[in-house]
Amino acid sequence: MDGFMNQTEAEFSYRLWRHDGAQGELIPLLQSAQDHFGYIPRRAIKYISGVAKVPESKIYGVITFYSQFRLQPMGKHAIRMCTGTACHVANAGMLLETIEDELGVEVNGTTEDGTFTLFSVACIGCCSLAPVMMVDDDTHGSLTPVTTRRIVRKVRRKALAGEKKAAAEKPEGDAAASPAKE
């Protein structure tokens, strides 16, 4: 785990180093920090503040303004249920309840085992196939409670299998304990 953190930090600082001080680079920097850590850790804010010469308080203000940024680590898989207009009309509310029931968490919550974080978003641009959800980068359309549960269970099974494999390879490993890592 240490190795992983060091590695991304190195890569992340590479981007920072390349940061040419152009005006308006703050949001892209935060985005790349989040890409690497899965969220924006305290020390990344400090770091960016030093390099980009923007006060920490202002960075914090920007982070909290945009819904994309997270200050908390996230589960291994992100489920984004669309609750935009078209999906709403197609009963997305009920599907959101279905996922909440299946995962045992509410919107913006992360499951205890760190596998899933559930989000609700307004429109993924796939309205003609409403209701729609995204699991990580995959979009699934025309959902019903049954297909929704099936998709979620499939991802969970895969995640569990992956974990078991990882644990077998590295006996002392505790994959579930570091949900921030991809």
Binding site: F69, C123, L129, G141
Partner: protein, 597 residues
């Protein structure tokens, strides 16, 4: 040798186009057939789509899953025998000649979508084959900035992002300011839920947008362009990146473009999830790395926009029109549409419409023409109730106004707005009170908090609507909503607040009886507001599995395995748990019976 094209935009992929592509990849391997992909042709309801192109003959198949892909490959591509049952559209030598959805495409007029679904969006050659970058050539070599602006004025093109401001005029403002640095901004922050035409254009024909921006740069004397794209559109961003890199390699972007001495660079800015950034001054703030809050105007962007420099901002669809206008002339553009709203407009059909997808038509065609002529009417033959236009700033147009021509003059008369062209269709099962609540919930959440009326006023309205949908509404509530709505409109700085009450005001205007049913009779006629409905099990659908009875927290459901279960309405607490657990779609809600009075 055939060319096989798989529709791979977000809509195609969410319907399983990736699997289809993989299957075909395996089959094509080793043969002389060519496999490639394309953007969205607009028939989202038939995705995944696969086209077989043999010379001039194009055959498009719909709902192509892995199994069907194999069948099509073996029978059509290898065996030479078409499979008419699955054909959705067919064309020979440019003339439509069959397919179940021939009308869907035939009834459209495509300028913006001219290349979508035809070319590989990640191939510059494909775009060039369809006269790509000819408009740029013309604009840079033969036209001076005034000519370009004049051509746009002539075309009468109006901004496609919602407000409908004449594009040529806008460009001339910005051209009129002296400055060493100016910016061209493309708003690709398509925030209206229910509208997805910009995503489709970016995913299906990214170069057209780049071209529009380059030509704009030349017209206003700008050297830099920003595309501000939503982070929710990863594929669009990817295709833009590819397009920018290719165009730069080929010398369409960069220094001394095509030897004309004109320099222009384009950068992508990824949005970070804030609806208010669709508002142009907020968008500029976000480009600058600030919190995306709107700024007071004047000064207008043409004078002081991004980093305080003169800036021209249009949306994706507007720019995508530009190359066509430059190539074909403003007069040709005017042949489409109406006198005051020339040209075509892309509409995104979604919701309870039978054929959800994209339709580009001349302005001024009626709602009925678009929804029924192209969209195929309402799903499952249900009753058409309303169509929502303009997203959270717009309103609902009721069924009896379906003859309204769709253009910048007539739509506002109904209380809705053109918006960016999303049409969310509603049927008799959609509750209008709930829709009003839904939109307010959205804007309330997205309000940036700068203006008090927008920040707190919308919250009060939302709370009131929530009470009504829970059955706790009072008769005075509707007056209060109307009054507060007007005040919010008056006292907000930007478009978000000024329009936030619109969905509520327009639904109250047309559906007051539904509001009163919720308030007085504590019943939701559409069977949608959970607290005001009865849950019923449909006998024909129930398989008697007993899952609902097990899940019910108050034991209101009883029955015998393998026989129809029943819900005791008196004991039911309307939690909705059974709805989410039934695997047979057998549970159904109806408005509470109103006691005869």
């Amino acid at each position: 040798m055939s060319k096989i094209l798989v529709g791979m935009s977000t809509c195609g992929m969410s319907a399983g186009a990736k699997d289809t592509y993989k299957t075909l990849e395996g089959l094509v391997d080793g043969s002389d057939n060519e496999l490639t992909f394309t953007g969205c042709i607009g028939m989202c309801f038939k995705e995944p789509l696969v086209e077989i192109r043999e010379g001039d003959r194009r055959t498009i198949y719909g709902h192509v899953d892995k199994k069907r892909a194999k069948e099509i490959y073996e029978t059509h591509v290898v065996g030479g025998e078409e499979l008419p049952d699955y054909i959705v559209y067919q064309e020979d030598g440019g003339n439509a000649c069959g397919g179940s959805e021939q009308q869907f495409l035939e009834r459209q007029e495509r300028i913006v979508l001219r290349n979508c679904g035809l070319i590989n969006p990640e191939s510059l050659e494909d775009y060039e084959d369809r006269d790509g970058y000819q408009a740029t050539r013309k604009a840079l070599a033969e036209m001076n900035p005034e000519d370009i602006v004049a051509e746009l004025k002539e075309s009468g093109l109006r901004g496609r992002g919602g407000a409908g401001f004449p594009t040529g005029l806008k460009w001339s403002f910005c051209a009129g300011y002296e400055s060493d640095v100016k910016y061209v901004v493309c708003n690709a922050d398509e925030g209206d839920p229910g509208a997805f035409m910009d995503r489709s254009v970016l995913e299906g024909d990214p170069h057209a947008v780049l071209e529009g921006m380059i030509i704009c740069g030349k017209a206003i004397g700008a050297g830099f362009g920003y595309i501000y794209c939503r982070a929710e559109y990863p594929l669009a961003i990817h295709r833009l990146q590819v397009a920018i890199a290719d165009a730069t390699d080929k010398g369409y972007i960069g220094e001394n473009i095509l030897g004309s001495g004109f320099n222009f660079d384009i950068k992508i800015k990824q949005g970070a999830g804030a609806f208010v950034c669709g508002e142009e001054t907020a968008l500029f703030a976000s480009i600058e790395g600030e919190r995306g809050m709107p700024r007071i105007r004047p000064p207008f962007p043409a004078e002081s926009g991004v980093f305080g420099k003169p800036t021209n901002n249009n949306n994706v669809e507007t720019y995508a029109n530009v190359p066509w206008i430059i190539s074909n002339g403003g007069q040709a553009y005017r042949k489409y549409g109406t006198e005051k709203s020339p040209g075509t407009k892309v509409f995104a059909l979604a919701g309870k419409v039978a054929k959800g997808g994209l339709a580009e038509v001349s302005m001024g065609r009626t709602i009925e023409d678009i929804l029924f002529g192209i969209g195929g009417g309402i799903k499952e033959g249900r009753e058409f109730k309303a169509v929502q236009m303009g997203g959270p700033s717009g309103g609902c147009i009721p069924a009896h106004l379906k003859d309204t021509p769709v253009d910048f003059e007539n739509i506002p008369k109904t209380g809705a707005i053109m918006g960016s062209g999303g049409m969310v269709v509603m049927d008799d099962q959609t509750c209008m009170v709930d829709m009003a609540r839904f939109f307010l919930d959205f804007t309330q959440d997205e309000s940036c908090g700068k203006c008090t009326f927008c920040r707190i006023g919308t919250l009060r309205m939302l709370e009131t609507l929530e009470r009504i949908t829970r059955g706790e509404g009072e008769v005075e509530d509707t007056d209060m909503l109307a009054e507060l709505g007007e005040q919010i409109k008056q006292a907000s700085l930007c478009g978000l607040g000024q329009t936030a009450p619109n969905p509520v005001l327009s639904t109250m205007r047309y559906y007051m009886d539904e509001f009163l049913a919720h308030i007085k009779h504590k019943s939701c006629p559409a069977g949608s507001c959970q607290a005001l409905v009865d849950f019923i099990i449909i006998e024909e659908k129930c398989e008697g599995c007993g899952v609902c009875a097990k899940d019910c927290p108050v034991d209101a459901i009883s029955g015998i395995l393998k026989q129809t279960y029943v819900i005791d309405i008196g004991a039911c607490v309307q939690c909705g748990k059974c709805l989410t657990s039934c695997a047979f779609d057998a549970i159904y809600t109806v408005g509470k019976k109103v006691a005869a009075s």
